[in-house]
Amino acid sequence: MLTKRIIPCLDVRDGRVVKGVRFQGLRDAGDPAERAAAYEAQGADEIVLLDVSATPEGRGHALDTVRRVRAVLGIPLTVGGGVREADDAAALLDAGADKVGVNTAAVRDPAIVSRLAARFGSQCVVLALDAASTGPGGWQVVVRSGTERTSLDAVGWAQQAVELGAGEILLTSWDRDGTRAGYDLELVGAVSRRVHVPVIASGGADTVQHMADAFRAGASAVLAASIFHFGDRTVRDVKHQLAAAGLEVRP
């Protein structure tokens, strides 16, 4: 049986881990390689590293950051942020990523998903999908770190991206991200029912109950940042509680 995955997320800006509410008011949360190694030691199943640098200079640090994380990390590493073309993905993979996340560029040019899948395999291609609620049972895709709404239906876009070759969906609720109000379970359920690839629930985790709820709604994995970065809980604590709640996790 595949176990349910717990994935700490490192938002990295100019080579440092940061975290803020809705990408604003960023707080420093340490060195990426140190954080990644600490999370592996706590039992994290995977690490997602999102480069949220605002400038090209900042983004220039990303490859170096990936190399430093890879040198110490013995679990999978997904890297997203700034992937515009297959060559960007190739550079991240060469530096030590195992999977690459693509977001805005895929909305602009869906064929990039196919190009990435053809070159690296679907299991390497993670569609990062940021969704905002438009009312009960409806969500639209937002891009450019939430600064731009699109007319795309989020569930339909997830399905299209999988048909194009995405092997996993990193599904972030824009309404919940950083709020600690819990994952958007309806969104997780709607996307999980539509696609056959794993869905990673993201945005809003505060309690272990939120995570258990996301798994029961259909998520294969949950992503969390704030809950782990500021010492509230370790990954190990979370896994013990999930196991006690009857969910299968890697010990």
Partner: protein, 207 residues
């Protein structure tokens, strides 16, 4: 002296992770597409992330197929990872009509419908009693295809995704893993260390 491991560049997407993991266990890593280097290699790694057909094309283009066959047929220290394991088979449903290396007798087939595919995540590996390198524990997988039976002449381990499938198989200093030992945390690191130690017992030519 650090043991040298030759890693074949198959066009695999996560070569850096394989190299980093081997370095962490004290190996010196040489990446190659040169058949002569492969022929002289004491320890050979065939990694793989990507597509069966494209990977076989590349092995043929680089004239590596005979050298890999000689190495495995001589039962020299060998590690195949993910697609690398699948390439050992005679064929794969991923690339109908493309011949694999044919070093083991089990064909590669796609996970059945109705499952989450690709299988991405950690699954329990359960070795048969005859395994010496493989131990019970959780390993990280990223695959859409798999073998259903352990090849004849090898000791194997299974995991379950919908139904049991081949997690890995071993024979002496040769190990083929459907999962990614380089991404399987402390358990994977310990497995790589056992493989490296087993390969040290063999005492072969230098790379």
């Amino acid at each position: 002296m650090m043991p040298e491991v030759c890693v074949i560049r198959t066009g695999s997407a996560n070569l850096a992770s394989v190299v980093a993991a081997l370095r962490r266990i004290g190996a010196s890593v040489r990446i190659t597409t040169d058949p002569d280097v492969v022929r002289g290699a004491e320890r050979l790694v065939l990694p793989g992330v990507g597509a069966f057909g494209a990977a076989m094309d590349r092995l043929h283009r680089d004239a590596l197929v005979p050298a890999i066959r000689e190495h495995v047929n001589a039962e020299r220290p060998f590690l195949a990872i993910c697609l690398g394991l699948q390439l050992l088979g005679p064929s794969s449903e991923e690339a109908p009509g493309v011949a694999g290396l044919g070093l083991v007798d089990t064909p590669v087939t796609r996970f059945q419908d109705g499952l989450i595919v690709p299988q991405l995540g950690w699954n329990l590996v359960e070795p048969s009693p005859g395994c010496r390198l493989l131990q019970r524990g959780h390993a990280y997988y990223a695959n859409s295809y798999r073998m259903l039976t352990v090849p004849s002449g090898w000791q194997g381990a299974v995991s379950v995704h919908g139904a049991p499938f081949v997690a890995a198989f071993e024979k002496g200093p040769m190990l083929a893993c459907q999962f990614h030992p380089e991404l399987s945390g402390a358990w994977g690191k310990a497995l790589l260390e056992r493989w490296l130690a087993a390969s040290a017992d063999v005492g072969a030519v230098s790379c």
